[in-house]
């Protein structure tokens, strides 16, 4: 039973076909890594799934429901969360406030009117512990280090508790230890959450990947285990030939 299905998805900006007839299918609880050279359409694919960009062709089916026409907030309510490439935390809000914003189980205006600041407990305490930000609870997010900001955004996605989470380069700017720990979290989330991870760090990919999808020029180039993909000549040509030799 597919949890998320992309059918012949395509979008073009002006003359450029950013994504072109992409088919993709994910099972519930699966972690999928999306690889490909820059400009291959990986981030655009995530944009299409979360609704930031509307496709010019094809359909997005989530939980057997066609969500192609839904707006981003509606998709978020369906259970799709997204982490952006450049950390998009709210810099003027404290860590705690960022997490409160992310906890969006009741996203309506009226229901939000009745909610006042609550104590740090339950899920929030857990998440803070996990990303080691407990001590920074009242720090303004803008004053966090780069790595901490990435963690905070991951924490926000955990607070949001979506069933499908899209990660765009989650480990950019992290130290080796942080990256390793992130991999641990991802592995723990497998099974209960479906995840799509766009990542360049092959070491990280190796730590977490089950199935890997490689894209190039907006289309699917190869799919399979990491070993399969690495030995695929087309992949080597398009991707690994460029940046792969320094990984």
């Amino acid at each position: 039973m597919a949890h998320l299905e992309l059918k012949e998805l395509g979008v073009h900006f002006g003359g450029l076909r950013a994504v072109d007839g992409l088919n993709l299918s994910l099972k519930f609880g699966e972690l999928r890594c999306l690889l490909g050279p820059n400009g291959a359409g990986k981030s655009t694919t995530l944009d299409l799934i979360c609704g930031k960009t509307l496709p010019t062709a094809g359909r997005v089916v989530f939980d057997d429901r066609d969500i192609t026409g839904l707006k981003e907030y509606q998709r978020a309510r369906c259970g799709i969360g997204r982490k952006f490439q450049t950390p998009a935390v709210f810099r003027d809000l404290t860590v705690c406030e960022n997490l409160e914003v992310a906890r969006s189980q009741h996203p309506g205006v009226l229901s939000a009117l009745g909610v006042f600041r609550s104590r740090v407990r339950g899920r929030m305490a857990e998440v803070l512990e996990l990303v080691e930000l407990t001590g920074e609870l009242h720090t303004r997010a803008g004053n966090l280090s780069h790595g901490q900001t990435q963690w905070l955004e991951i924490a926000m996605l955990l607070m949001q508790d979506s069933r499908l989470i899209l990660f765009d380069e989650p480990t950019a700017g992290m130290t080796i230890q942080e990256t390793h720990k992130t991999a641990g979290i991802f592995n723990a989330l497998k099974g209960s959450h479906t995840m799509i991870v766009v990542e360049h760090d092959m070491g990280f990919v190796r730590e977490i990947a089950e199935t890997v999808t490689v894209m190039d020029m907006g289309t699917l180039l190869a799919e399979g285990s990491i070993a399969d993909v690495e030995n695929d000549p087309a992949v080597r040509e398009a991707y690994l030939a460029n940046g792969g030799d320094d990984a």
């Binding site: 050279p37 820059n38 400009g39 780069h146 480990t171 950019a172 700017g173 080796i176 990256t179 760090d201 092959m202 070491g203 990280f204 030939a241 460029n242 940046g243 030799d245 320094d246 990984a247």
Partner: protein
Amino acid sequence: MLEAQALYSYYGKSPIVQDVSFTVPEGSFVSVLGRNGVGKTTLLRTVMGLTDGISGRLSFRGEDLGRLPTHERARRGIGYIPQGREVIPRFSVRENIVMGTYTRRDGRRDLPGHILELFPVLREFLDRRGGDLSGGQQQQLAIARALAMDPRVLLLDEPTEGIQPNIVHEIEQVLLRLNREFGITVVLVDQNIPFARRASDHFIVLDKGRVAVAGHGEELTDEVAERYLTF
């Protein structure tokens, strides 16, 4: 020719580059390496005067750069090719290149012929808008624009990022030619270790805003790469 001593550079109050010292000899090819977010880009921007403030000493051909505004630094012959190319999207290719000549002291505003020789593809597109070019072409345009100012040193920030492999190769060849044939000093920020190894006279590896290792090109060993550059 370009020298830094105990250089700190700030965004707001936080120092991004800390206690960095290096020397770039005239005519050399220097690679600056390091993981994402360690301050490589900031280092180049510091040289151009695009950060909020510095302390320590930064000099170019014996002249203190610290107090000079950015456009004066450009006039001293420092050509900067930023990350993401940043060609002017609504300018034609010609206008983009001519823009480089605004720093020239001789007041000439014509398209230097050797530039179009280096990048034949630009000759075809002279009247197209910069924003309509492909990534690789934009990168070539960005280099051409910097060359139009007749620079003494080129600062390049990840010129091969996100560019097709065949064009990457072309660009690398051009950089080598510029350095070897035209005698232009090159400071290159890049992730591509094999090329850095091949091309560089010197290399600097940054980590958390500080110089982790520095040395001659051949000293860029696998061990160094493993330690500071892989993930």
